[in-house]
Every structure is written in structure tokens, then in C-alpha cells.
Amino acid sequence: MSSPSSALRAGSDPYHLGHHNEWIGTEPEYTGARSGGPAPKRIVVGYGFWIFILSDVIMFSVLFASYAVLAGNRAGGLGPRDLFDLRDTAAETALLLLSSFMCGMASLAVAWRNQLWTQITLFITGLLGAGFLALEAREFTHLVSIGAGPTRSAFLSAFFTLVGCHGIHVTVGLLWLGTMMAQLLTKGFRENIRHRFLCFTLFWHALDIIWVGIFSLVYLIGTILP
């Protein structure tokens, strides 16, 4: 057992955050939240990325608000009850949530520094995400084919933009995922690679939260309410 004072030495980890102080030397350690000097890089990177996610959520909130305003403006066209099939949406939801679960597994594999399982779990994460995108693409092409494309009415413009924007995020996430897998493979579990992986997992889970909003506010309420 180490004494409390030695636990506060530079390079120690008093809060069990799993990181070691990178500012070894004259600087006192950690936090930045109070007054102990600059926070370690892992905290800075994660914190910055959280703020990015917040800004991204605000962007989605604009699209949600526009959808809410325009949802009733159908210009004589079809509405949510005629267009949405909750079984497809349930399948999409399942794929996306399972993908997030696999992403969590990948975090564990990275924590154990196990390259094989990292690659396997990330590959499944990507596969499930691609499955989600395929279902979404099928839904979109179906809607366009029956004359309910985004140019038909303000309601459909807002619908395609909101759901499509989430789809673009998933696509960009897949691109990032592929790059991340290649990086983990070639560079190993280097510190800055792990920081990036942390950001990727945050991003991937945040997309789930957005999807839960879309599922509830667009599909569920749209098909339940008259």
C-alpha cells in the first residue's frame, strides 16, 4: 500500500482514470478543472470531442425543429402513416444498437490490447452499420419510387434531410472506422491512436442517441398520431 502523499506524486493516478500523467516534470499534475495546471492530453482530447458532439447535437436539433414545424405541410401528398413501415424501422434500430454494442466490445478489446479481437469486433461494428445504411437506402429508394421523394412536399423535404443527415453521419463514421482499423493494425495501441479510438466510440454511440430521437419523434409518433 502506498501512502496518500505518494499517491499524489506526479505520474500517479489517484482517480483511477487509467491514464498516467504526461506532464512529467515541473508541472503539478492533472485536472485543469480546478487549478492544478493543464489537464493531460487524454482528458483534453476527450473533452474537446464531447464539445464537438454537443455542437453536432445542436445541428440535429435544428433539423428536428424544422421537421416538427413542417411535418404537417404535406401539400396534398401522403403522410407518415401511409409511408413508414415500423417493421423496417425496428430492424434498422436493432442493427444500429447491436453495432454500438460491438463497438463497446471493441473498446474492451483495445483496453486488453488484443489486436485480433479489436479487428474482429470493429469489423462486425462496421458490418452492422453498413446493414443499417442498406435498409435506409432501400427505404429511401422505395419512397422516391412511389412519388414520395423530398421534392414532393415540405414534410418530405424535412424527413429526408433529418434522416439523411443521420445516414451521412453513419457513412462518415464507417469511413472513419475503416481508417481507424487500418491505423490500429499498423500503428498498434499507441497513445494517440487510443485517443482517436476513444473519440470514434463517442461518435458512434452519439449516433445511436440521435437515432433514438428520430425513431421516437419521426417514426413512432408519426405512425401513432393521426
Binding site: 480546478r34 492544478g36 493543464p38 474537446g48 455542437s55 421534392t151
Partner: protein
């Protein structure tokens, strides 16, 4: 389909002489500067020390240079508008309507997005890490990306002079006018893509500085010890993080309407143009506070330094700043009381708009009480601050008038409104960044600017502003609406002529500022700032040499109170120990230069230009290039370089020697005063 999309030779305005002169000037300036750089062999130096630099000080200086260049362009627009209105009484003037409309749109767009924003962000970049006592921002390479994306936006706006035309819909592209049916040319597309791209840069800046201020501060710097400029920068960056995603999404919806036939704001097929007004002002009202809050921070620094007193009411200032930050979310509807939302809604937003004047008033009183009883030095920076206090109160009061829905129905879209926002933006934001410019110039370049010419510049700007925009209030009350290309009301004529004289006085102010810069550079040997503390400053940026070393602080300073550097100086003078014992120097790890930002901006420019002209293969190429750039950046193995301990020691010893000499002089002065 054409391989260059909509781009043909018709895009070049050969038939419009005035526009052609503008195009020629842009081409001559760009080609001339490029030729000069290449001929003199400056390129390797510029590439190594500036273009690829991730140093927050260099990036800050580049932001300010960009802002000054765009100020020149946008001020020429202002001159052209004032000249047009001076001659267009019962006459067509020299600018045809479609050209006049482009000029007022470009003037507003440039002034807000590419003058005020980069100048404010430039000062933040330069001063915040120094004031926090740290070595760089949280994400140095992203900081460079931010700058270069902003530069891309500015470049695209100016490209519209050469190829095609700029937006004719005002500085905010109100639909349905900005929809494809009414603006079929590329003007609105130039606007939208330029703002989308530079907006991403601004968002990254916001994220970067929120993280920097909240997570990287010198040891001992509690929140209540942060300099006021850091507080206001924090508030401003929080607003950026909250507001710019709204702008991005709103313009994206407008672009979908224009490019893909969507119906967000078309007023047909269920689209609703008032949705655009709400969304754009949900961003736009935060934007004015994004601009003014850092300016308030600059005034706080300047007033307390030149009154030689701590800032009066520091905590109330912090509360006022954060109160403005919060209330600014709840007032956006006052930009369109005439929408017809009803008396209750209008009253709620009107009251919220009046409430926001209270924390601003708190700030004005705090600055006055800081000066009260102080030994005020009337330097040019201080003059800008005092000119601001006098003028901004008037701008604020006319704002409260506009916040009353009943009055607003009369004043809406009149020149009274235009005079009001010029009053707050010019005498608030622009005076603030000029105060910051003369205050921090010696820190950035190691020599002080000529004070006499600086004071001349202030008086010309101050008088010029009131001669130009004082009549604006009167014209608005006489019923003149904004954006008139011609008019036939005889009563307006003398006031518009007076306004034209005012803008010429402001032009003289700008010319004096250029002269000031030229004279100061030529005589820089006599105006060197050897101590790093030319103004007897109070915060940590004055504790380092001028210009600061690449790593800012040899050893991170220990902060013990609100004014750490003033405290260090006073303790040294009082105790007579002018030199603290030499610290133990260690090697310093700094981020390496990176071309990522610049290369990204090249691809962003290509992508933006291709999108504007519907050149789809080039869009794909640009996006693929941007992705490749990030992969290359992500793949590098060495991200940092190490400055050896003896190099750190060498630089710091020189600074310490100069500083202890200055302190001994100050001690001698103080002994004289006490006797």
C-alpha cells in the same frame, strides 16, 4: 452536360466596367503578391514559419492580417454605397441596381464574417494562451485548419468578383428572394458555400478555445483568477459552439432548396420562409454577442492597464458576461417583430431584449469605476476604449428603442436600424479590435506603434463615424428605408451628403493607420520593447519577452491571484528582490508544423468553387483530396519536437535580465514618488 458545369466565359463581367475594375484589382493584387513572394525568395520562409505554423501567436497574427485585408475590400464597398446615395437623387447614379445590391450584400457579409470575426478570433488566438500561462491551444493543428478554412471563405467571396456575381439578397439570404426561382444565378451559392466552409473553421475555433480555457490553464489559475479577456473569449466560444451548427444546418437547407428542389423555405408545397428567419436569427443574434463579448474583454484589459488599477467589480463583470451569454439565446425574435407572431410573443422577446441591456450597463459602470481614482494614461488604446464607452451607450439605447415592438413597427428596416447596428458594430467591435491591435502589437512584434498617429487615427474614426451615422438615425426617423439604390425625397439629400463626408473622414482614419504602420516599421529600432512589458501590464502575457518565444513560458508560471504579473512585479519591488532564483529548465515539447490546414483549405476552395458552378467531378475530387489529407496527417509518427533545456535557458535568461533592469527602474521611480 458541360464539363465545367455552369461555368462559361459569360461568367466574367466583361460588359460591366465597374465590376471589371474590381475583377482586375483582385487579379492584379493576387498575381502581384505571388510574383513578389516568388521573386524575392520569401516562399520557403513563409511556408516554414507561417503557412504551416501551428503556433497560436502566428495563427492569430494571420487572422488579423486577413481581417485587415478584408476591411480594405469591404470599406471600398462602403465608399461606393455612400457615393451612390450621394449622387442618386432623382438620378440613376453610377451603379445599376443589380450591382448596388451585390455591393451592400458583399459589404455586410465581409464585414461580419471576414473582418469582425477573424479580427476577434485573431486577438483571441494571440492573447488567450499567453494570458492563461500555457504554451499553446488545446488542438494546435486544428487551429491552423480553422484559419485556413476561414481564408477559403474569404477567397470564395472575392472570387465572385472575377467569375460570376455575388449574392444580391443582403448579408443574410432571406428566402423566398434567395430561392432559385428569384435568384437563379450563382450569387447566393457563392454566399452559402463561402459561409458554410468558413463556418466550419469558426466552429472548430469555438471547440478549441472552450477546451483550451476550461482544461489548460497555468497552475493556480482558478476560474476567478482568469483575466477578463479569457472570460469573455470563453463566453464567445460557448456561443460559437451553440450557434454555428444552426447556421450550418440552415444554409444547408437553403442549398437543398436551390440544388435539389426541396421545399424548406420556398413558400410552395408547404415550405415556410419564416422558418428561415427564425433559424437564421437564432444564430444571428448569438453572432452579435460572439463579436462584442471579446471586444468587451479587450476594453477590460485596456482600461485596467491604463488606469493602473485592478478591474473594478471583477466578479460582477464575470456574472454580467455569463448573463449576456445566457440571455442572448432568448431574444432572436426581435429581428422580425413584424412577422406577426402576436402581442404576447413580441412582448416577451421585447422584454428579454431590454433585460440584456442591464448586464451591459453593469459593464459600462465597472469600466468607469475602474478609471475613477486611477492614474489614467490616455494612450491610443485607451482612447479607443473611451470612445467606445461614449458611443456604445448611444448605440445601446437606440437598441432598447428598437426592442419595443410598437416602436419597431415604425423603425423596422429603416436607416435608424442600420445606424443602430453600425453604431454597436463599429464603435463596439471595431473600436475594440483596434484597441486590442495597438495594445498587443508590441507583444506580437517587439516594438510599439507610433502613438501620435494612433491618436489621429482614433479621432478621425470617431468623428468620421458620427458624421457618417449620426445622420442615419435622423434619416431613419424621416422614413428612409435601407438599401435604396436611388431616391427622390429632397429632405434626405443633405443628410446623405453629410454621411458621405463622414465616410471620407473614416477613410482618412484608415489611411493614417496605414501610415502609422509604415512609420512604426521604419523606425522600429527606436521603438523596441526590450522588457516585454511596454504598458506596465497586469496579466501573464506581459511576463514573457516581446515577441514571445515559440514556447511562450520557459516554466509554467504559478498563479497566486487575479493579476499574476502585477503581483510578481509588486512583490519584487516591495521586497527589493528584483530577481527570483533561476528555475530549473527542462526540455520543452512543442507540436510540429503541419501543412494539413493549408492543404485542406486548397481542397476546400476547389470543392466550394466546383459546388458553386455545378462541376460535380471536381467536387468528388476535392472531397477525396480532403479525406486523403486527413489520413496523411493521421498517419504521421512524429507529432512533436523538443526544444533542448539549454536553448530554453538561453532565451529565458535574456528575458530575465531585461526584466530585472526594468524592475529596478520602476523601483527607483516608486521611491521618488514616496519621497
Amino acid at each position: 452536360m458541360h464539363i465545367l458545369g455552369k461555368l462559361t466565359w459569360d461568367a466574367v463581367p466583361f460588359d460591366q466596367p465597374v465590376a471589371m475594375v474590381g475583377a482586375a484589382v483582385v487579379i492584379i493584387v493576387v498575381v502581384g503578391v505571388a510574383a513578389l513572394v516568388l521573386a524575392k525568395g520569401y516562399l520557403p520562409y513563409l511556408w516554414r514559419e507561417w503557412i504551416t505554423s501551428v503556433d497560436h501567436k502566428r495563427i492569430g497574427i494571420m487572422y488579423c492580417i486577413l481581417a485587415l485585408l478584408m476591411l480594405a475590400r469591404a470599406f471600398i464597398d462602403a465608399l461606393m454605397m455612400r457615393a451612390q446615395q450621394a449622387v442618386a437623387f432623382h438620378a440613376p447614379g453610377y451603379l445599376p441596381p443589380e450591382h448596388f445590391d451585390q455591393i451592400f450584400s458583399a459589404h455586410g457579409t465581409l464585414m461580419i464574417f471576414f473582418v469582425a470575426m477573424p479580427f476577434v478570433i485573431g486577438l483571441m488566438n494571440f492573447a488567450v494562451p499567453l494570458q492563461l500561462g500555457v504554451r499553446d491551444v488545446a488542438f494546435p493543428t486544428l487551429n491552423s485548419v480553422s484559419f485556413w478554412l476561414t481564408a477559403t471563405g474569404a477567397l470564395l467571396v472575392n472570387l465572385s468578383l472575377v467569375a460570376g456575381e455575388f449574392s444580391r439578397t443582403g448579408w443574410l439570404p432571406y428566402p423566398p428572394l434567395s430561392e432559385l426561382a428569384y435568384s437563379p444565378d450563382v450569387g447566393v451559392d457563392y454566399y452559402c458555400w463561402a459561409i458554410e466552409i468558413s463556418g466550419i473553421g469558426t466552429l472548430i475555433t469555438g471547440i478549441n478555445f472552450v477546451t483550451t480555457i476550461l482544461k489548460t490553464r497555468a497552475p493556480g489559475m482558478h476560474y476567478t483568477r482568469m483575466p477578463m479577456f479569457c472570460w469573455t473569449s470563453l463566453a464567445s466560444c460557448l456561443l460559437i459552439v451553440a450557434a454555428f451548427p444552426i447556421l450550418t444546418a440552415t444554409l444547408a437547407m437553403l442549398l437543398l432548396d436551390r440544388y435539389a428542389g426541396f421545399h424548406f423555405f420556398t413558400d410552395t408545397a408547404g415550405g415556410n420562409s419564416m422558418l428561415f428567419m427564425n433559424l437564421i436569427w437564432a444564430w444571428g443574434h448569438l453572432e452579435v454577442y460572439i463579436l462584442i463579448l471579446p471586444a468587451f474583454g479587450v476594453y477590460s484589459e485596456v482600461v485596467s492597464t491604463f488606469a493602473a488599477k485592478p478591474l473594478f467589480g471583477y466578479r460582477s463583470m464575470v456574472i454580467a458576461t455569463m448573463a449576456i451569454c445566457l440571455i442572448s439565446f432568448m431574444v432572436w425574435l426581435h429581428h422580425f417583430f413584424t412577422m406577426g407572431a402576436g402581442g404576447d410573443v413580441n412582448a416577451a422577446f421585447g422584454i428579454a431584449s431590454m433585460i440584456i441591456a442591464i448586464p451591459t450597463g453593469v459593464k459600462i459602470f465597472n469600466w468607469m469605476f475602474t478609471m475613477y481614482g486611477g492614474r489614467v494614461r490616455f494612450t491610443s488604446a485607451m482612447l479607443w476604449a473611451i470612445g467606445f464607452m461614449v458611443s456604445f451607450v448611444i448605440g445601446g439605447l437606440t437598441g432598447v428603442m428598437l426592442a419595443m415592438p410598437t416602436a419597431d413597427f415604425e423603425l423596422h428596416n429603416s436607416l435608424f436600424l442600420v445606424a443602430h447596428f453600425h453604431n454597436v458594430i463599429i464603435t463596439g467591435v471595431i473600436f475594440g479590435v483596434f484597441a486590442g491591435y495597438s495594445y498587443w502589437f508590441p507583444k506580437a512584434f517587439g516594438f510599439v506603434l507610433d502613438e501620435t498617429l494612433g491618436k489621429w487615427a482614433f479621432w478621425l474614426w470617431f468623428i468620421g463615424f458620427w458624421v457618417a451615422w449620426g445622420p442615419g438615425y435622423a434619416l431613419g426617423l424621416e422614413g428612409m428605408t435601407r438599401r435604396l439604390q436611388r431616391y427622390d425625397v429632397a429632405e434626405w439629400r443633405p443628410l446623405l451628403l453629410l454621411a458621405a463626408v463622414g465616410v471620407l473622414i473614416m477613410l482618412a482614419g484608415i489611411l493614417v493607420q496605414l501610415l502609422q504602420l509604415a512609420v512604426s516599421i521604419r523606425t522600429r529600432a527606436q521603438r523596441r520593447d526590450l522588457t516585454g512589458d511596454p504598458w506596465n501590464g497586469r496579466n501573464l502575457e506581459w511576463a514573457v519577452a516581446s515577441p514571445p518565444p515559440h514556447f511562450n513560458f520557459a516554466v509554467l508560471p504559478q498563479v497566486n491571484n487575479q493579476e499574476p504579473y502585477w503581483d510578481m512585479k509588486q512583490r519584487a519591488i516591495d521586497s527589493g528582490h528584483l530577481q527570483t532564483p533561476e528555475p530549473h529548465y527542462e526540455p520543452i515539447v512543442m507540436p510540429r508544423n503541419s501543412a494539413t490546414g493549408f492543404v485542406c483549405a486548397v481542397f476546400a476552395t476547389v470543392t466550394g468553387f466546383a459546388l458553386i458552378w455545378h462541376i460535380w467531378w471536381l467536387v468528388l475530387l476535392g472531397l477525396a483530396g480532403a479525406y486523403a489529407t486527413f489520413v496523411v496527417f493521421a498517419w504521421r509518427d512524429v507529432q512533436e519536437h523538443i526544444i533542448p533545456a539549454d536553448e530554453v535557458a538561453r532565451l529565458d535568461r535574456a528575458n530575465r535580465a531585461a526584466r530585472s533592469q526594468a524592475l529596478s527602474r520602476m523601483r527607483a521611480d516608486e521611491l521618488v514618488v514616496h519621497e
